[in-house]
């Protein structure tokens, strides 16, 4: 679309609904009449709310701002293309099996939103509740899982502790009698699973656009203009854009955007890799994670095994990883599932993530009056996508955190209220 022909503010466009009937109708015209899923507007001079980052979190924030809070004069600014960051690079695991109070209710809220997301968006995000199983390889690990499973139940989250035979019935393909890491049992969250990452971004983009949100791609934010302790707008590669409120949702680039606003943050950027094998017949029906090293695996609908492991371990803004991690991830995978040893790797890639000092995200207010921060997602922000957008929109609209993200505030580091699931302390590359 040409610059200058964007619809006027607050016009919400009627989107054509996707349905079986629409499919049939469009089949008669050779599928030539489908309309684009969202507009491509030129940026306006001012918005009530500007969100930086067109990943799942930024798009979900804009969608819920418009849908639940009636704030529709909103722009999402994306330096590349929608969903081209970590939203399009992750291994798509969705779960809420957390131990700590700051995390568990938030992730459970997100999981509940996932359960209704396709219907809400009229867009199939292919959310598949195939179950997420964490393996235990010692008695003490079984005890630790029992504790976490009980904590989950106290928070109203489903969890099942499986013994060894239970795990065997669930997924017989594992190495049960490995000499070093025999399987003792596992913690299962049946409502966990996977979703189609691109579809989540596209469905949220289409939903936000139809409510009047401007999605502006190829628009890099290069500076944040302040007056005193207020933000007045952003410098971008497409000119200055003024805003009433500014929200950051830029995943691995939070440190850089924070610096533009004059904030030093408890975050380091690190690279995490992911891997896909050649297509195989159905083998891994669930999401399975190894308990004696970092490895997680599922199988995509196309048949590829999708898996990942640890960070590369050093600060990085390069969206590519290094060979030692590939070797380690693959060897853990083979010790957990020897039957995949001859599978060929098809692709691997990296994404840059914010690793925080306690391994938990930061969603909330900042020292600047109208600047809001959504970042620090570490390994696990895909599952948070709808929940993160939901609480972030609430926080921006009401200028205070919702109960669900109150414990994930930026102030917790100064105040000593860490939400440290793994107990590693302030060492980002260990979380």
């Amino acid at each position: 679309m040409l610059a200058g022909v964007a619809p006027p503010a607050r016009t919400s466009r009627r989107m054509s609904r996707y349905s079986a009937l629409a499919l049939v109708r469009n089949a008669f015209s050779g599928h030539k009449d489908w309309t684009p899923a969202w507009r491509d507007p030129a940026p306006k001079q001012r918005y009530d709310v500007v969100i930086v980052g067109g990943g799942g979190h930024g798009l979900a924030t804009a969608y819920y701002l418009a849908k639940l809070h009636g704030i529709t004069n909103v722009a999402v600014l994306e330096k590349g293309w929608l969903g081209g960051g970590n939203t399009g690079r992750n291994t798509t695991i969705v779960r809420s099996n957390y131990l700590l109070d700051g995390n568990a209710p938030f992730y459970e809220h997100s999981l509940k939103l996932w359960e209704g997301l396709s219907a809400d968006l009229n867009y199939n995000v292919m959310f598949s509740q195939r179950g997420v199983l964490n393996l235990a390889h010692s008695d003490s690990q079984v005890d630790a899982y029992a504790r976490r499973g009980n904590a989950m139940r106290l928070n109203g989250i489903d969890s099942d502790l499986l013994d060894r035979e239970g795990v065997r019935r669930f997924c017989p393909e594992l190495a049960f009698d490995d000499a070093r890491f025999p399987i003792y049992g596992g913690l299962l969250q049946r409502r966990g699973g996977t979703a189609r990452h691109d579809a989540v971004a596209w469905g949220l983009a289409r939903g936000a656009d139809s409510l009047g949100v401007d999605l502006i791609q190829n628009c890099e934010v290069t500076g944040i203009r302040r007056e005193g302790d207020r933000v007045v707008g952003v410098e971008t590669s497409r000119g200055f854009i003024a805003c009433g409120k500014l929200g950051l949702a830029v995943a691995g680039n939070t440190g850089r955007l924070g610096a533009m606003a004059g904030l030093r943050l408890p975050i380091e950027s690190h690279v995490l890799q992911a891997f896909v094998s050649e297509g195989l017949k159905p083998l891994v029906d669930h999401v399975i994670t190894f308990g004696a090293g970092h490895f997680y695996i599922s199988q995509s609908d196309k048949g590829g095994l999708v898996f990942g492991g640890d960070l590369d371990g050093y600060n990085s803004y390069a969206q590519r990883g290094n060979l030692p991690v590939i070797e380690e991830v693959v060897s853990i995978g083979i010790s957990m599932m020897p039957c995949i040893s001859r599978t060929r790797l098809l692709r691997h890639w990296g994404g840059v993530m914010d690793m925080t000092m306690d391994g938990s995200p930061i969603i909330g207010k900042t020292p600047l009056a109208n600047l809001y921060l959504n970042g620090g997602w570490c390994y696990g922000g895909f599952k948070a996508t709808p929940g993160s957008g939901w609480v972030f929109a609430w926080t921006i609209a009401n200028d205070r955190p919702h109960e669900l993200n109150a414990k994930l505030d930026l102030d917790r580091f100064r105040a000593g209220r860490m939400v440290d699931e793994s107990g590693h302390g302030p060492q980002p590359n260990l979380h």
Partner: protein
């Protein structure tokens, strides 16, 4: 593989080292105000570009090094023993090379 030029062992694969992080933060005096301690423990410049960082040659000479590396390109610009490469911001510390 990154190749780190250890001043004691010569160029070695980074898999022989363990990584600690930003070498430009300095430990405050015990009596320093809480704010300084907060900054030291939790806050980082996290630059995209040149970064001075601590690596431990755990499977080599077991010395701590300050390595200067570009976090965008992974290019390694030099390494010094930590006791010489004093973390007090040197010429290149914390600069954003891409800016």
């Amino acid at each position: 593989m990154l190749r780190i030029p250890c001043p004691f062992c010569g160029p070695r694969d980074h898999s022989e080292f363990s990584y600690l992080g930003d070498a430009t933060v300095t430990r405050p005096e015990a009596e320093a105000p809480l704010d300084e301690w907060f900054g030291y423990v939790y806050l980082r410049d996290n630059p995209r570009g040149r970064h001075r960082e601590h690596w431990h040659h755990a499977q080599g000479c077991r010395q701590w090094l300050v390595v200067e590396r570009d976090t965008l390109t992974h290019e390694i610009l030099g390494a010094l023993p930590a006791r010489e490469g004093s973390p007090a911001a040197g010429p290149a510390a914390g600069k954003d090379a891409a800016e």
